[in-house]
Symmetry: C2
Subunit: 95 residues, 2 copies
């Protein structure tokens, strides 16, 4: 059981699990993880969903702690929190 990062609360574990359970949201997370930083518009170019829905998913991912939002001018940039992700996987391995 490789231990990485601090232990996540049960609520955060569940929030991450729910965030990953939706295919579209997981695809968005993958995109953000691969680009390390990407605005809403970039996500929209790869996902056939409305801006409102993307914003909704971003809030979910943000609430789960998987991404951090950084507002720059009129755009918003998201960065993947690999530490949280690793902690999540590490904790799941202790089942």
């Amino acid at each position: 059981m490789a231990k990485k990062g601090p232990k996540l609360s049960d609520e955060q574990m569940q929030a991450i699990a729910r965030a990953v359970a939706d295919p579209r949201r997981f695809a968005i997370l993958q995109q953000i993880a691969s680009q390390e930083c990407c605005p809403c518009g970039a996500v929209r170019e790869q996902q056939p969903i409305s801006a409102a829905t993307i914003s909704h998913h971003m809030k979910e991912l943000s609430d789960a702690g998987l991404v951090v939002v950084n507002h720059e001018g009129r755009t918003a940039e998201f960065t993947f929190q690999r530490g949280v992700w690793d902690s999540y996987l590490s904790q799941l391995s202790n089942i």
Copy 2:
């Protein structure tokens, strides 16, 4: 990226993600994983849900490949598939 077991299909990845997303189902999975083998009745003793619901969750976990059902007489025993679980986590780590 530690590689364990064969690659899971996208459908199976999503099925596992959905199975884990529900708190009750995850609790059941934890119980089965800890006991390596346990009948429906044992699950029911620890979860305040009806037999019908347990059967439903078992089908979900089974469809996801996380447990294997073994019918012995009139009872059903479930065994956790650690290999599939490890493959799931391994694949998630490649995000």
